[in-house]
């Protein structure tokens, strides 16, 4: 009995059980592996499926995609995605952490009714805001610019709520000691609170980055020019413009997916942590 305590997650799964679990896992990953494999097939082999692996592997699809920046500005889309997602992550972490700190620790006039107002909007689906947000962005002249995808993201309540709960859990002693030493509020925030919150900030940054990288409806509605597109809407173009060219489409899909998969494998712990905290994905 004592011994088993050391491995609390293992309830003694049989070989059959683990085989099932592994088979299921393979089934979930297989479609993603198929993108990578299929991207190296010539069109004829995709349309007339013979085997999973290509019989004559070719890099032609990638060459054609990367070699036509006029027609297929995929590198441009990639840069747009990197710019937008990084800016969104930076903005969300910055403004949410500052506000969450104020609400968790500082005396704030009107806090009692502003806080529930913010938390209440967690319930509001993004689609409800889509039409009015489009009209507001139109008024601001931000449509068809990266600003339309970046700035509104800073107002979301999720990051604020996550960090607020996290800050409440930090013991007050350290901050009080710093206050006695004569530190300003800003220095306490910057030199004491933020370093202690690194895991939560990292989770939020990565989670926000991936969410923005994968956002489809936003760029679909707010952007017009093909050279302003982010990768997801750019890749979606292939379905209309290059309808029958599955090889090209798969190569584009592979290029779009690779960074996310690599980021996920690197930062897995942070991403799964924040999902476990919120359980979300719509």
């Amino acid at each position: 009995m004592r011994l088993r305590r050391n491995q609390p997650s293992n309830q003694g799964m049989g070989l059959a059980g683990e085989t099932m679990l592994a088979l299921g896992a393979a089934l979930f990953v297989l479609p993603i592996v198929l993108i990578a494999i299929t991207a190296f097939k010539p069109d004829a082999e995709i349309v007339h499926f013979k085997s999973v692996l290509p019989q004559t592997a070719t890099t032609g699809n990638f060459k054609e995609i990367l070699g036509n920046p006029e027609e297929i500005p995929i590198f441009r889309w990639f840069l747009n995605s990197v710019l937008v997602s990084s800016a969104v992550a930076l903005l969300v972490v910055t403004v949410s952490s500052m506000a969450a700190y104020a609400f968790a620790r500082l005396d704030l006039a009107g806090k009692r009714w502003i806080f529930p107002l913010i938390i209440g909007t967690l319930m509001v689906p993004g689609q409800v805001l889509l039409v009015p947000a489009y009209l507001i962005l139109n008024r601001l002249g931000w449509l068809d610019t990266p600003l339309a995808l970046i700035i509104p993201a800073g107002g979301g309540a999720f990051g604020f709520f996550l960090l607020h709960q996290f800050f409440l859990g930090i013991p007050k002693d350290l901050e009080e000691a710093a206050e006695l030493d004569g530190c300003s509020r800003w220095r306490i925030f910057w030199n004491v609170v933020l370093p202690l919150s690194r895991p939560a900030l990292a989770s939020l940054a990565i989670f926000t980055f991936v969410g923005s990288w994968n956002d489809f409806l936003g760029p679909l509605v707010f952007l017009d020019s093909v050279d302003k597109y982010t990768l997801p809407v750019g890749v979606a173009l292939f379905q209309t413009s290059y309808y029958a060219e599955y090889g090209l489409t798969m190569a584009a899909a592979a290029l779009c997916t690779l960074p996310v998969v690599v980021a996920f494998l690197f930062f897995q712990r942070f991403i799964t942590q924040s999902v476990a905290l919120t359980g979300l994905k719509d």
Binding site: F28, Q127, P132, W186, P232, Q239, T249, C256, F264
Partner: protein, 290 residues
């Protein structure tokens, strides 16, 4: 002393102001602007200015067969997608919990991987799988002489969307349920085993009751997400065949950005919001009573 105290009540705003401005401008304002819009008739492409029409947009929705069809399709999707998603997520989470610690995070990552795919890539991939002529699924079925009209037949299209959704969205609920399972002390199961309780009994008597708060959370979140289904339908079937997979959000999207009927689209958005609020309320009540 008092003046300094009063001043300190506002220093917090130095920290909070940037967020509060963005929150007001891009969450609160659109929310109420949308409500106002829903009371106006405004065709963005026509030269006529927006005209106040009261609740006429909501009345129009009430008589709009396309709206009712989209609502029905949405509810059908929720009913078809939610139970298997939650059931399978629970099954996988239970499997992960029992898996050897060394390999647990490996399996977990595998099941979670589809969830981080962007919908356009996932949609393109499954559209190829489902293609009746040169799709992968029918290629696999060809030796058996079977050919399934995955997304071209009214009866098959919705179940096909559900199957793809299952693959794409299981990661979130699975992760939350796994966290919930890991919070149940292993000693409860050990004690039950000593008393001779079978695994099935342990599941119904220990796991389910203790998991209920997490389960409630996951079900509510999943339903809220499913009511807003858009990306997979837009990418794979475009709402077809014969509008059989056109959901509410796609109808709102088309009303606003294909037909530019902004007032009507805002009214439909608010109806969607009310539907979501209603769903969450009912579910919380139901689960609490049990």
């Amino acid at each position: 002393m008092t003046s300094r105290r009063n001043l300190s009540r506002y220093t917090g705003y130095f920290f909070a102001l940037p967020y509060l401005i963005l929150f007001t401008g891009f969450v609160l304002l659109p929310l109420f602007y949308g409500l106002t819009l829903s009371l106006f008739r405004w065709e963005m492409l026509s030269p006529l200015p927006a005209q106040f029409v009261g609740i006429a947009n909501f009345q129009e929705a009430f008589h709009d067969n396309y709206f009712w069809q989209a609502l029905g399709t949405t509810l059908r999707f929720v009913l078809l997608a939610m139970p298997p998603t939650i059931g399978l997520a629970l099954l996988i989470a239970a499997g992960l919990r029992a898996a050897p610690t060394k390999r647990q995070s490996f399996y977990r990552a595998a099941y979670f991987l589809p969830t981080i795919m962007t919908i356009s890539v996932a949609g393109i991939l499954w559209r190829w799988f489902y293609n009746s002529e040169f799709g992968l699924f029918n290629a696999f079925l060809a030796p058996a002489g079977v050919k399934i009209p995955w997304i071209t037949d009214v009866r098959w299209a919705m179940p096909s969307i559900v199957l793809m959704t299952l693959w794409w969205t299981i990661g979130g609920p699975m992760m939350a349920l796994l966290a919930g399972l890991q919070n149940i002390p292993i000693s409860y199961y050990e004690a039950a085993s000593i008393d001779g309780a079978k695994p099935g009994t342990q599941f119904w008597r220990i796991t389910l009751p203790l998991l209920r708060p997490v389960l409630l959370f996951v079900v509510v979140l999943n339903v809220i997400g499913s009511v807003q289904v858009f990306g997979q339908v837009y990418m794979i079937t475009r709402g077809g065949p014969e509008l059989s997979t056109r959901t509410l959000v796609q109808y709102i999207y088309e009303t606003a950005f294909n037909n530019y009927r902004m007032g009507y689209a805002a009214a439909l958005s608010w109806l969607l919001f009310v539907l979501i609020a209603l769903f969450s309320f009912i579910q919380f009540r139901l689960m609490r009573e049990q």
